[in-house]
Assembly symmetry: C2
Homo-oligomer: 301 residues x 2
């Protein structure tokens, strides 16, 4: 699993900072999360393979989280994309994109599916054999969801020492990996757990931006391996944070602590501060494992 | 009069090239022409004073000419703009922008006026005491206009040698500048043309992108000082140019020649070519005064 930050600054694109967008690679799937203006250029700069993105998740309809979407959708057509593209986001996103495609007389050359979200309860919005994605209802000035990406538990792994010890033929290996016990020629049964090892523990990534400090998300993100949580402000601007329905670094760290996540990544920084290190310093007074996102940074987990 | 090219490449924003947008400063007015994705960042990089832009002209509703508009409109609000903003563009542009502002619950903090264009005849769309702007109906895959920006003829200039020769008192100077003759104490009349010099000839700038080769625009742009004309392709790709309703470098130069403009600026280049110098070389076989636009370049006239 790895995460590439295309943009992690609040409000507007600037000369050296980009609005929210990130690419999560999980079990060989490439998910785009939010798509602020300039995202397609950031994808190019970070050498992300455009064509592998089949699912785009939009947290909410503030411009710094979706103004780059229509451009990306259009560029996919110019690049002769044929694969289906799925967009998950708040109700209204379909109208925004299709109106612009209609007026520019530029329908996509591929199938475009919109999955509009309206629920205020957590729900599963994507699932295949290896990954599941759930919404994390957030509280912000407009309808907003975070997203929880979870690997599913993989197959048990063959314990090569054990199968060789028992002289089991290779034609049974897949059966064992599928979880079955094995009956030997003498009629004895060797239980599956003697022939296999536990699979790697499944990983999970929770994306939470934008939101007020809200403990009601704790049961959803509990024990996540990585939590990206917005921290637009420092505590010195707590009054602005409350007014604009954002979070301070200290509050983000408190969520990380109470949710018992392994790692906190901070982002959605206001550009008013001299250094983003200040966010880390404030958060570390509450929670030890803090990483700072920055445009162009990649995290491997 | 000066022109800053924010972007002049066709189709999509790329790592090092930007879609169409330019700023024309004429008689101290700042006009933004087209607004591809990333325009607000280009405005910052080129240190253009955002707040001085009160009029935005959008040629047509292909993404590379307007996808940056909603972001700029939103950023003006974040920058606490109060001045009115006027947007001129094809019918539909109002719905595109207002739908997104509505769904993001982010109405502008300033008055936003849309002037939607539908005419296929040239019309005056802006006029004040010093500048006039007319549409140049173009032929492209969707409804498209170029724009002709013309300075108005200024006041005549006082000929200081003459007024001192005639011993005319300073209280009459404004009257003379306004074009009046002067009656002397002996009853004789000194005609205005003996006391004044011709004003500087008014300049004009014609912006034509995107369009096929179309001689019907010649009467509108005739004798313009500067013509920006798209040249998406070279003659070697004339078949693509025709198919996509664009122009080759040679065709753009032919329009410049036939319209008797003083200077041609080329742009809207396809990125398939190794060097934009090729456009200049091809155009100069037809018309001598060719300049190449490029992102970040400023022309003074």
């Amino acid at each position: 699993m790895n995460l590439t930050i295309l943009g992690c600054y609040a409000a507007t694109p600037r000369t050296f900072t980009n609005p929210t967008s990130q690419v999560l690679e999980i079990k060989n799937r490439l998910f785009l999360i939010d798509c602020g203006e300039g995202t397609q250029v950031q994808l190019r700069k970070n050498k992300v393979k455009f064509s592998k993105i089949n699912h785009i998740f939009i947290s909410h309809l503030h411009g710094d989280h979706f103004f780059g979407l229509v451009g990306l959708v259009s560029t996919f057509t110019l690049l002769n994309r044929t694969a289906d593209l799925h967009i998950y986001g708040p109700k209204g996103i379909k109208e925004i994109i299709t109106l612009q495609l209609k007026l520019s007389n530029s329908w996509t050359g591929y199938n475009l599916y919109f999955h509009e979200l309206t629920s205020t309860e957590s729900e599963i919005i994507f699932e295949d054999e290896k990954v599941i994605v759930k919404t994390i209802p957030l509280k912000h000035r407009v309808y907003t969801n975070g997203f929880l990406f979870q690997e599913k538990t993989g197959d048990r792994k063959l314990d090569m020492n054990a199968v060789l010890n028992y002289n089991i033929e290779t034609c049974y290996y897949q059966k064992i990996k599928n979880g079955n016990d094995i009956e030997m020629q003498d009629g004895s049964i060797i239980p599956n757990e003697k022939l296999t090892l536990d699979p790697l523990p499944p990983k999970s990534y929770a994306f939470c931006s934008d939101t007020i400090y809200d403990e009601s998300i704790l049961p959803i993100i509990e024990n996540a391996d990585i939590l990206y949580h917005e921290s637009t402000f420092l505590e010195t601007e707590a009054h602005l944070s409350e007014k604009t329905m954002h979070t301070t670094a200290k509050q983000a760290a408190t969520i990380a602590l109470k949710a018992n996540v392994k790692q906190l990544i901070m982002g959605h920084y206001s550009t008013r501060y001299a250094s983003i290190e200040l966010f880390k310093q404030e958060a570390e007074t509450i929670f030890p494992n803090v990483l700072l996102s920055d445009d162009g940074k990649t995290f491997e987990f």
